[in-house]
């Protein structure tokens, strides 16, 4: 098994209370299923959409946004999968696609390359 990180980018945040609840329930169901199949190493954390950016030799500090709103990373999860193909396949169940978001699937580098 190899490790992968899912980076959740963009996706709708608002909506009516009912729609938000439906969206949340879909996420919880998806996470639960992934967990039950043994693919979740760490459920991860949500990230605030704004923070600070420290950059350059001068270590200049600026406010976000760091990217277009639709590309901002809203959270991550640590996944276990056979290979990149499987990790990609598993990501396709993510409810973020229903609200115009994206999942970036990145293999964690291994020592014994």
């Amino acid at each position: 098994m190899s490790e992968f990180v899912y980076l959740y980018r963009g996706g709708e945040t608002g909506g009516s209370p009912e729609r938000m609840q439906q969206r949340m329930q879909k996420w919880m169901t998806w996470m639960k299923e992934l967990g039950e199949k043994g693919h979740i190493k760490d459920r991860g954390q949500p990230l605030e959409r704004a923070g600070k950016l420290v950059k350059g030799k001068q270590k200049a500090v600026t406010d976000g946004p760091f990217a277009e709103v639709k590309d901002v990373v809203g959270g991550y999860t640590l996944i276990e999968a056979r290979d990149l193909d499987q990790a990609v396949e598993l990501s396709k169940g993510c409810p973020i696609f229903e609200s115009d978001g994206a999942v970036e699937v990145r293999p964690v580098m291994r020592m014994n390359m």
Partner: protein
């Protein structure tokens, strides 16, 4: 009601906006809604990863409190807030503990009540009051209200925006401790909940799920009334009784394929016994004092149906006389039509048809499919298939949703078969 957390967000949205509006002042209703939205977004993000907390309602309220503090800090110079907030807002020392106090469970107890009474502002037309209650207190979005009322997004948005403007201009939320004003506005609140319930029960929305939700929301708000001592009047009991007794029949109204079951042919074993018991208990409580409202009479009619184990055992005589009473307190062509149908059950279709023909203001029923459908039914029963068929066809042209259309189509073909 499969899960206790079903519609949790929607329900909590109403409670939270009601509380935030008290703290911010009614003129800042829009800010209260933004802060609620923000709190919910955070809940959604957190719970996605961490799962639901043990007490999600408390979590949401706490998130709202923190977002409210942020908003107060950010906006304290730009806006004026509710007078209750007073000088708390001037200093960071007093702000956080002061706001915490305003969020204490004792303080938020009456917020929904206060908002309900505020939404029933006398300057608002009834349909605007109901739309406002759904939007603010029940957490329905504009689209959800529009689909419940089978109306366009634009029309409902206009109605709600206008109503909110009136509400925001009213300066203060309704004072639920002012006894005289309270009892003066209570009937308007009853009426709004009654309309909300009826929209769910009789409304034209084709989606049964939406309609059951409207009934449930009306019942939930009636419960809020029953929890407040000054709102517990015979009329409140009667209204709640009527809702329970009608709602008890909802499971039998539509079969598995979404077809309408006519009332007299419903499988009464599907009626919800628990709601019937509750309705009968509430009806008993309503029978105090001298006040007799339309809610009393409607609940009493429903209780006679609820008590009859089979349609054939219905006491139609009692029902007709209750309709007579209802006609004397709140006459309407619909009540008269229902009365005529009861007369037909008691004395035969000819008498029923005579009653229908003599309905005053029956021109107000021309868009109501069950007016020609009732004529068709009674003609059918006395053997006039051809005339019945015409009536059913007229009803079909007025049908408001696929279920009504299917039902009336069946009645048309029944006429052809005989």
């Amino acid at each position: 009601m499969t899960d206790a957390s079903e519609h949790l967000f929607r329900r909590e949205a109403g409670r939270i906006v009601a509380t935030l509006t008290r703290i911010f002042g009614v003129h800042n209703l829009a800010l209260a809604e933004d802060v609620m939205q923000d709190a919910f977004c955070r809940a959604l993000e957190m719970w996605k990863f961490r799962g639901m907390p043990e007490n999600p309602s408390a979590w949401l309220m706490a998130a709202a409190k923190n977002r409210a503090l942020d908003a107060l800090r950010r906006e304290r110079t730009a806006r004026t807030f509710a007078p209750e907030l007073g000088r708390l807002i001037d200093s960071e020392w007093t702000l956080a503990p002061g706001v915490a106090e305003l969020f204490a469970s004792e303080a938020i107890k009456d917020d929904q009540l206060r908002m309900m009474f505020s939404c029933c502002h006398p300057r608002l037309p009834e349909e605007a009051q109901v739309a406002l209650i759904l939007n603010i207190l029940c957490g329905f979005s504009i689209d959800e209200v529009a689909s419940a009322f089978v109306s366009s997004h634009a029309a409902i948005e206009k109605r709600i925006v206008r109503a909110k403007k009136t509400l925001a201009q009213s300066k203060d939320l309704f004072d639920v401790t002012a006894a005289a004003e309270f009892s003066a506005r209570l009937p308007a609140v009853h009426r709004a909940l009654y309309l909300l319930f009826n929209e769910g029960y009789h409304g034209a929305s084709p989606e049964t799920a939406v309609r059951a939700e409207l009934c449930r929301e009306a019942m939930r708000l009636a419960e809020v009334l029953l929890e407040c001592r000054s709102a517990v009047t015979p009329a409140t009991y009667a209204l709640a009784a009527m809702m329970c007794l009608h709602a008890a029949r909802l499971p039998a109204r539509v079969d598995e394929s979404g077809n309408l079951n006519p009332f007299l042919l419903q499988d009464r074993s599907q009626w919800n016994r628990q709601l019937i018991e509750e309705g009968l208990r509430l009806l008993e409580h309503s029978a105090t004092g001298s006040e007799l409202t339309a809610y009393h009479v409607e609940a009493a009619i429903a209780s006679i149906h609820a008590r009859a184990p089979r349609a054939e055992e219905t006491d139609w005589g009692a029902i007709v006389s209750l309709y007579d009473t209802l006609m004397s307190i709140s006459p309407s062509p619909i009540v008269a039509l229902n009365r005529a149908i009861a007369v037909a059950q008691k004395n035969g279709p000819e008498r029923g048809l005579e009653e229908i023909q003599s309905i005053a203001g029956s021109d107000r029923l021309t868009a109501y499919p069950f007016y020609p459908a009732a004529l068709g039914e009674l003609e059918f029963r006395r053997g006039n298939q051809a005339i019945a068929r015409e009536h059913f066809r007229a009803a079909l042209a007025l049908a408001r949703n696929p279920a009504e259309r299917r039902f009336l189509n069946q009645r048309v073909s029944a006429c052809d078969q005989r």
